[in-house]
């Protein structure tokens, strides 16, 4: 059992005290590295300063030393039951920990995708409405675009960062689909449906598993899933896998040139005059830049305007159109679509809208309207005017 090592902490404190005294002697010289950047003799994980407790203070804050002494004796909660642990411990790790047995076909996945995903992620995962693309073609080819950089030619093609080309692990996809998707009503897909959707996304990214193309007939299982090789698995730094991971991460952030930072070497003065060439240019915002700010920018201090009347069109565009305007759910002004619902009476339609339905209708479409205003929007949606 590993408890926080008080001896090591004390040692770190002593080192810290020395470091601070050293700085004091230099009179706060402008360019001296002053911070304590070690904990227990190890470089800090982020390359930054740490403030170990010394003389009952951490940095400028006083701490109550009784707390450290009493902490090992405090147990305010209870031990979770096995069922509780199982209910919440559902994460999926790259080695398959947490990944349940199950299977799903590309064909079934496509069906679920068309019903529940396409309204945000677009046809074949092409993206849209601000939601991410899930594919831009062949994953192996797309991975090669990651060295594209638009710093000289802003019109050039940038890197393509989608699931197939960029993500290092497939486990992330399975886990996120089951727990975070579909976005308006997450945690509603079962394990087989999750396998099916995963299979479909592998299909549109043109994956091969163990030399076999994930074609339209493919059926994904746990066993096959664990053989997925992501094209960009080695595309990330620092390496965070294995027992020496933290040592590697510390070493990475101990070198500012790894991550585009600049550190004044001990004793070095920062430049105060003639720090850059006269030939530098001033780049201005092009074409007015981005200014569709909501609400519009203003620093005026006057009485607020009267609240505008309900704008059903705007509410429809923001909250309803993504489904009702995309063939998911009965369509805008489509009386044929709606007749099955309106036949049961408008009160039932309103109630479904206000409280939401299992078919995916979020309560009030996710809006915060009053019931009366929401009913006006429903009328507008059904009548198309």
């Amino acid at each position: 059992m590993f408890k926080l090592d008080r001896k090591l902490l004390t040692k770190a404190s002593a080192a810290a005290a020395l470091a601070i005294i050293t700085v004091g002697c230099m009179g706060g010289s402008s360019s001296t590295s002053a911070g304590v950047t070690e904990i227990d003799g190890k470089t800090t994980i982020d390359g930054g300063t740490t403030y170990p407790v010394m003389n009952d203070k951490t940095g400028p804050y006083y701490v109550n030393p009784q707390v450290a002494a009493d902490a090992p004796k405090i147990f305010n909660g209870r031990i979770p039951t096995a069922n509780e642990l199982a209910a919440w411990d559902k994460d999926v790790m790259p080695d398959g920990t947490g990944l349940p047995e199950g299977s799903g076909s590309v064909e079934d996945g496509e069906e679920i995708y068309e019903a529940q995903c396409v309204s945000c992620h677009g046809d074949f995962g092409s993206g849209g409405g601000g939601y991410p693309s899930l594919s831009k073609g062949n994953a192996v080819d797309m991975q090669k675009t990651l060295t594209n950089n638009r710093w000289k030619d802003p019109e050039a093609d940038g890197p393509t960062r989608v699931f197939g080309s960029y993500w290092p692990q497939a486990s992330t996809l399975w886990w996120y689909i089951r727990d975070g998707m579909p976005h308006p009503k997450s945690k509603t897909l079962n394990d087989d449906e999750t396998y099916a959707l995963t299979a479909y996304i592998l299909n549109i990214n043109e994956f091969e598993i163990d030399g076999v193309e994930v074609d339209d007939e493919y059926v994904l299982t746990r066993e096959k899933f664990l053989k997925i090789k992501m094209p960009n698995v080695d595309g990330f730094e620092p390496n965070i896998d294995g027992p020496d991971a933290l040592k590697r991460v510390r070493a990475y952030y101990a070198n500012p040139t790894n991550f585009g930072a600049l550190n004044l070497n001990k004793g070095a003065e920062r430049c105060m005059t003639n720090c850059q060439k006269k030939s530098v240019t001033t780049r201005r915002i092009k074409n007015g830049g981005i200014k569709d700010f909501l609400p519009p920018m203003s620093d005026v201090r006057d009485l607020p305007k009267e609240v505008a009347a309900l704008d059903v069109k705007a509410v429809y565009a923001d909250n309803c159109a993504m489904c009702h305007g995309n063939g998911v759910g009965p369509g805008f002004g489509n009386t044929a679509d709606w007749s099955a619902y309106t036949a049961k009476g408008m009160n039932k339609v309103y109630a479904n809208g206000i409280h939401g339905t299992d078919a995916g209708m979020p309560p009030k479409g996710g809006s915060t309207l009053s019931d009366a205003d929401f009913k006006s929007v429903v009328d507008y949606l059904i009548n198309g005017k």
Binding site: T49, A68, A245
Partner: protein
């Protein structure tokens, strides 16, 4: 002692002498102004409604709200940074109106991946398990019974300024720098809870998972967990706002805002990392080599001029006016030690003055008194240094290493151009 006393007396006499001299000038000045004035100021000459009529009873607004005149001081959003229906989206803080080093709770920037969750505190549970000797479940009341600490830290989205790698896009400090806010947080050090639970030696990583619709999760290294990581429930003296994870979020001083999981539900310890969606598909910084930095923890040293700003400029200043140039500096890697200010876009720097509290991994205010010369064009560039020795790079220096595709962790110096009319525009200085 006697010496000191007499020195003080001399000082006081000096002050009175100066004050007397000044009041003569002041009186002369006033008479000069009043004799030139076209009309008396009605704001002074008339009774005002609030001076005659009853104000609100103290029974109104049991929870106070800002003056109705402050209705334009708001979080704002833009469609560029919004998923469809503003649920996987961000609304940013009006830095141009910020004062001191605290953001009011109602203006704290709001970022969520599945909308702002509204957690019932009665049903709130926090589970800590995995490579610990003793797993635990806590109710909110049980959690809050741990001994608390209170710390002032900023939280910054690592995409703050990330839309401008390829050139300036926002003529606005709210959008160019407002993906951050600061508060005084109250909670418990995670290491205090772990002292009892007992971490197993092979534990290297901690998963923090939210209870929201997106089940937002991130992997955090043990080093931070045992250093200054906190589980917090208090924000500026009250409960966390829903936008900040009510009732409980994790706070990792100085690190990426995204790591500070809100609506916190579960902490699990393991030997290997998790590869959550928001630490692979996003929040990774692609370099020109084609490799991307993952687990990019601390927001590096940074600063900005907050006054003037593109929003609140100097077009109302007169020639010769003395004006305070003010700004913020911050570092997720330590404490701000110096801020420099350039009037020529970073060619030459003057030392600015820090003011107020200077705290670790916190917003720090800085100031410089300036005599405004009407018609001058200025390129105001600030540059901060922290106690770990980090200094803000120029844009050329940062882009030279990171390229322009990395989205996150942009901390190069930023420049406001003050034109001859006193208007302020966001520009970038490049070779």
């Amino acid at each position: 002692m006697d010496n000191k006393k007499s020195n003080q007396e001399i000082d006081r006499r000096d002050f009175f002498r100066k004050a007397a001299a000044m009041s003569v000038t002041a009186i002369a000045g006033t008479s000069l102004v009043s004799s030139n004035a076209r009309a008396d100021d009605p704001a002074i000459m008339h009774h005002v409604p609030w001076g005659q009529n009853w104000g609100d009873p103290v029974t109104k607004n049991r929870y106070g709200v800002p003056s109705k005149y402050e209705h334009n001081v708001l979080r704002r959003n833009t469609k560029l940074l919004a998923s469809g229906n503003f649920r996987a989206s961000i609304a940013v803080t009006p830095i141009q109106e910020s004062m001191g080093i605290i953001t009011p709770n109602g203006l704290f920037f709001s970022r969520s991946h599945g909308g702002v969750a509204h957690v019932d505190p009665e049903e709130y549970r926090l589970m800590i398990h995995g490579l610990v000797e003793k797993p635990i479940v806590l109710t909110l009341e049980q959690l809050k019974r741990y001994p608390s600490v209170t710390r002032t830290h900023f939280i910054e989205c690592p995409a703050n300024g990330g839309q401008e790698w390829r050139g300036p896009q926002f003529n606005s400090i709210q959008f160019a720098k407002g993906f951050m806010s600061s508060a005084e947080w109250t909670g418990v050090y995670l290491k205090t809870i772990l002292e009892d639970l007992g971490l197993k030696p092979e534990a290297q990583w901690m998963l923090a998972e939210g209870s929201d619709n997106s089940e937002m999760g991130r992997t955090i290294p043990i080093d931070k967990v045992l250093d200054d990581a906190m589980i917090v429930w208090g924000q500026n003296g009250e409960a966390l706002r829903p936008e900040q994870g009510y009732p409980v979020r994790i706070l990792l001083p100085g690190w990426e805002g995204n790591l500070m999981v809100k609506w916190l539900k579960r902490l699990e310890f393991a030997a290997e990392p998790w590869y959550c969606k928001e630490e692979t598909s996003k929040y990774t910084a692609l370099k020109p080599t084609g490799k991307a930095i993952q687990h990019f923890y601390a927001n590096e040293v940074n600063s900005t001029v907050t006054s003037p700003s593109p929003e609140i400029d100097w077009s109302d200043l007169k020639d010769g006016d003395l004006v305070e140039i003010e700004g913020l500096a911050w570092s997720g890697m330590g404490t701000i030690t110096h801020v420099d200010l350039s009037f020529d876009g970073g060619r030459n720097y003057e030392k600015a003055k820090l003011k107020g509290l200077v705290l670790p991994k916190s917003w720090t205010r800085w100031s410089y008194m300036h005599t405004y010369k009407k018609g001058d064009t200025l390129l105001l560039t600030s540059r901060a240094i922290d106690d770990a020795g980090y200094i803000q790079p120029t844009i050329d220096q940062e882009v030279g290493v990171m390229g322009v595709e990395s989205v996150y962790h942009r901390n190069a110096v930023e420049t406001w151009e003050v034109n001859a009319k006193g208007e302020v525009n966001h520009v970038q200085i490049r070779s």
